[in-house]
Homo-oligomer: 185 residues x 2
DNA sequence: GTCTATATATGGATAGAC
DNA sequence: GTCTATCCATATATAGAC
């Protein structure tokens, strides 16, 4: 039957999970394949059965996130204030869905990730998101509002680092503030 | 006379300048001493006359920034709303004074920098700044406002990346939005 | 799918001459 | 203050056995 003989068919997923955690907490360049392999109880060579390069691992971690982000932007209605607020809400949900470690990997390792070929796609998506969020025919002040709303959502990862408050409460507060700043309350 | 025979007494400063630019644009781990040396037209070994380790270079880059930041926080009056707004204004000036590359080095390489011994001091200072900015006896919502005001100022570096708008205008808009978000308009 | 062994490159750092 | 030469550790990646 399906699912019976897959004792280690999940190795690929486990590599992605450990890679995400280590990349997020130590940085991409500072995390070696040996470290990932050790945590999984395998050797470095085993990783190369599942991924051709180190970069392929981080690509595997980020690809679903990027696809969802692009879908968000694609489906937005940037002409109306309601449509832009809706986009901001969906972005907040998207961030919550992918979790704190992925948020940290992207935001707090922005240079490292953004300089990778795949990472530049994420940078492009972020820029499209900011432009869409700001709306058409935008002033610098409106662009600043959109950007601030965007980083307000992202900053949940910063707050959740060593706070006693629970993540859900932090997300709700961040969304509240982000929404009110988006169009000047 | 002083200043006559200093053809290369400024090498130390030039190392810091090139290091800042490369660390900010490529990341700390991804920038080799060889690359810094090449841009200066010297060899790696020459760097070791001026700095004992690679880490000492990034410490030299960040130390003035950290001292100024701590002085800001020390001199703040966190008991009143006016005092907290004043702190935010001074933080904005401080960021402007140290420039975009240093802002990027800290914010967009947060994991790499923050995991260095010296970098953890900056993380601590940021946390003190956030706490001070939020004021005494703070709710989650007020903490979120303080954090959002903080990242709004930081996000100038993100905006200045490929925009035609001038840096000064971006800074003013960021401060305006940050101030209005700090205490809920 | 995972292992051992190894090729190959590059990094930070030091010794000692000039 | 800068150079050449080198040490040494660690990194990614591959070959081939099991």
């Amino acid at each position: 039957m399906a699912g019976v003989d897959n004792r280690r068919t999940d190795t690929r997923e486990r590599i992605l999970a450990v890679g995400l955690r280590l990349f997020a907490s130590q940085g991409y360049a500072n995390t070696s394949l040996r470290q990932i392999a050790d945590e999984l109880g395998v050797t470095k060579a085993a990783l190369y059965f599942h991924f051709k390069t180190k970069e392929d691992i981080v690509t595997g971690i980020l690809t679903g996130y990027l696809d969802g982000l692009n879908a968000l932007i694609e489906g937005a209605e940037p002409q109306t204030a309601e449509g832009r607020e809706q986009l901001l809400r969906r972005f907040a949900e998207h961030q919550a869905h992918w979790g704190l470690n992925l948020m940290r990997l992207i935001r707090e390792n922005f240079t490292e990730i953004g300089n990778l070929p795949f990472g530049s796609e994420i940078k492009k998506a972020f820029r499209r998101l900011l432009d869409t969020l700001a709306g058409p025919g935008t002033t610098v002040l409106e662009q600043t509002r959109a950007r601030t709303a965007f980083v307000a959502i992202q900053s949940v990862a910063l707050a959740a680092e060593d706070k006693s408050a629970d993540e859900r409460e932090l997300r709700e507060a961040a969304l509240t503030v982000a929404l009110e700043v988006l169009h000047g309350r």
